[in-house]
Symmetry: C2
Subunit: 507 residues, 2 copies
């Protein structure tokens, strides 16, 4: 009798077998994914210290081109926080190990990207990755690493310690990767351009395989406040999280527990909630039964008086920066931006920022141009599956006097302590109901303004036509009337037209 | 100085934190995902024994409805192979543990779906899942399980052994899950319908929360040959795989190694390849240097004389079944199907089957209706990101006299020992170059035929118009000519028209 055989695989092995789900689909996507993952780590590392990022990326061809693919040496260098030596091997050689598993707005979320880049490089070239890093202290640490994929552990091939005379701080990652640069090029350049657009305080330098230099220079050294780590918001807490918190909590009574482990729950709110759920404030959390925990979880969702999450832990772009970025990049005739109030999904605060731009340098196509950003990184692939795309296409635009063939660009930025990406490759955001609603509301807000603009435009157009008719016939009528009346001086046409125009304006 | 803190998380914790990537995005998707994952496990379990599957799914409401969401008891029962008791706890309570990590055409691929369903149920309801299974031997084993998410291990809450008097064989999974059935309903019913369409030998029964019964009865008991496990094909082997094979291989010389571990490599091919790559056939594999392994990997890709993969390990639908399924489901006026020869991507054989249907009961919309299947399961979400969608939309359809507003349905089935899904939730297939090419070639093939059909149709249309003009005027001309010639019997118009028609046909 045939019987299935079972086996256990490591997380590293899982992502090795299924690298498509991490964005490493083909030689072109792989090279794009490797660059973006490392650049995003670097941006996070600099921002965590409120240092304007200086990031240098070089892609050097080292192998012969064969059927589009070629081996490159990829180097990504930053001036970020650096990594303590004891963390370096696992940070680059062990999947599901990282500093990203926090409730904090970060570009990285899965603790996976850097490792996947190294892993992908390794399985094609069988060469170790070199990581050099210093936190700015006395020493610089340099590792050569490979990944033991079956055991999901780093293999340290070589380790060096250097004296850090110049107090250098940052991280340099260098490894070999097979990829198809020519096909990836448009996306890579677009990636840098859009990244520069929403990170105006960063210097980005990219040297491509032909030695061409692309430089995106910062326009400001002003840095946003680094995002802070935050507590989970009571809405959307599940039983698992509640149990974990109860297990690790030093706070014994449920009222102390609620006050200390949840975002925006103070003494008064905690007591009100406990009255709502029918539990005594002095009840010991460790004594809660399974049923009580389930009821508590359900009631945390139902109670209406929790304050909405505080945006202080998030680092949105802000209207000015968003406006400046769009104006600089897209040069529209008309632009309106809007930042929504913070909202929450599954206990995670998020903010939707939106811009809608019309005319100017924006090209006329068969559909709107959509620019998607999440935590200040551009999302360039799989647009049609993104929640924003769906919301944009579900709106009845005719109501706003807008049609898809108009030169219109829509920019959506979603920032959150946890962006609900649909894929590990961070290509698009899933259609969580709360996010869909916020994007829709933000769109409606800016759409009303563009409606107003369109109406005014239409009005101005009509007025222009009306005045041009007056301007055409009034002189003739004046001439005719003058001769008919036997007079010589014609009336002042300009005044007449002006009076008509005034009337038209009042209309 | 701020310093990042690092931590390691379990695979189970990773998917708990990132359930969006496994398809458990919102209460509506979650309930859809849970049902499909368990149904697909059941279909695999029955097919592996060549037993026509009997699958019973029941969704029973147990909680009050609140804001669209409700707690349900989901039961999925099959007559499949059953699971040996020692494997049951991990098969349902440990992520990245399973029987699916093989080179074999299966519906499941990630060894994740069943666990995610149980995990999602647990974090919302905090209740254990009940698994009952027997391989048809003397005993039935029944487990109550929960998942220790942080440690990624099953917790056995209860275990029972029953005497299997009736020699029952199969598996019953029953657990509680919170979801939004009303919103999920259209997709769930569509899922059953399309699953029945490509699995005509299966009985599917679904009892919905209102007690409504949906029954899809098998139209044949003939089962396809169960797919076989296969060896990796030399194209697309990477260094990691080569090293693993060398490590576990009992075959010492490289010629024996190649013959025994790769698909369609016999003695002659192995020797030819070794001459091509410049290695002695008697060289010991364990003595290969790192550089030699890299060169060997590269040459395995470059060598042109490996035979294409053998389809015997795959279980495609076949033209007849595909045709029957489409005719039954879509009732078109015209249908053409095509099965491509087996091809390979990254060492995995795959076959593309395609059907294009016109008219009949197919509705006229603004775009083609696309039906996507992979390993005999329907893919219903995120169509626009799928490789097939992209290929279909990149084709210049006007060349084939086809426009998107015609009533046209396109059915694409991709079967493979490893379908390159882009998401763990198996919503869509990534754009691997080899697959894109095969889908495009298949499309071109059927498009030529539909072009022919369209031309003929156009021709017939024109002819009909031309003949109707003749039919209108010839009698009058005949009448007029008859009276003009002073005769009484008019000439036979039918003959005349027939002669004209003949001429038209020859044109």
């Amino acid at each position: 009798m045939s019987q299935s055989s079972f086996q256990e695989i490591s997380a590293s092995d899982f992502f090795y077998r299924n690298r498509d789900i991490a964005g490493f689909t083909n030689p072109s996507r792989a090279i794009f994914a490797a660059i973006r993952e490392l650049v995003e780590n670097s941006l996070d590392a600099a921002e965590s210290l409120k240092i304007p990022p200086d990031i240098y990326v070089r892609l050097l061809p080292v192998g012969k081109e064969d059927n589009g693919s070629q081996v490159f040496k990829l180097r990504v260098e930053d001036n970020g926080s650096g990594i303590q030596p004891r963390f370096i091997p696992s940070a680059f050689g062990q999947v599901l190990y990282g500093s990203k598993y926090k409730l904090k707005q970060m570009r990285g979320t899965f603790g996976l990207g850097g490792k996947m880049a190294v892993l992908y490089g390794q399985i094609m070239t069988h060469k170790p990755a070199a990581i050099t890093s210093s936190t700015g202290q006395a020493k610089i640490y340099s590792f050569k690493l490979m990944i033991d994929i079956q055991r999901n552990r780093p293999i340290i091939v070589d380790r060096k310690v250097l004296i850090n005379k110049e107090k250098w701080r940052g991280t340099i990652v260098e490894f070999f990767i097979e990829g198809d640069y020519l096909r990836a090029m448009p996306k890579i350049l677009e990636y840098f351009k859009q990244t520069a657009m929403v990170n105006p305080y960063a210097n980005l330098t990219f040297v491509d395989p032909k030695g061409r230099l692309y430089r995106f220079t910062r326009s400001t050294t002003e840095m946003p406040e680094p995002p802070k780590e935050t507590l989970p918001h009571p809405y959307g807490v599940d039983v698992e999280l509640l149990q974990r918190l109860i297990y690790i909590s030093p706070h014994k009574t449920i009222v102390d527990f609620l006050k200390n482990h949840f975002h925006r729950v103070g003494n008064i709110t905690a007591k009100k909630f406990l009255a709502f759920t029918g539990l005594s404030p002095t009840k010991k959390t460790k004594k809660l039964s399974r049923e009580e925990i389930v009821t508590l979880t359900q009631n945390l969702k139902k109670f209406k008086e929790f304050l909405p999450p505080d945006a202080s832990c998030l680092s949105p772009l802000g209207n000015d920066l968003l406006k400046a970025g769009i104006m600089k990049e897209l040069k529209p005739e008309y632009l309106v931006v809007s930042q929504r109030k913070p909202s929450t999904y599954a206990g995670h605060p998020f903010i939707v920022e939106i811009g809608i731009a019309y005319g100017g340098a924006i090209a006329r196509k068969n559909s709107f141009q959509i620019y998607r950003f999440a935590n200040k990184i551009p999302l360039l692939y799989d647009e049609a599956s993104d929640v924003s795309y769906k919301v944009i296409n579900a709106i009845n635009w005719r109501r706003y006097k807008v049609t898809p063939d108009m030169p219109i660009a829509i920019v959506v930025h979603i920032c959150s302590t946890k962006v609900p990406y649909k894929t590990v490759g961070k290509e698009f955001i899933s259609d969580r109901e709360e996010i869909r609603r916020e994007v829709a509301n933000a769109l409606r807000e800016v759409s009303r303004k563009i409606h107003h603009f369109m109406s005014k435009r239409e009005h101005v157009d009509k007025e222009r036509k009306r005045i041009s008719i007056f301007a055409k016939y009034l002189p003739r009528i004046a001439e005719f009337s003058t001769s008919l009346a036997g007079k010589e001086t014609r009336p002042d046409i300009k005044k007449l037209i002006a009076s008509v125009r005034k009337y038209g304006k009042e209309e």
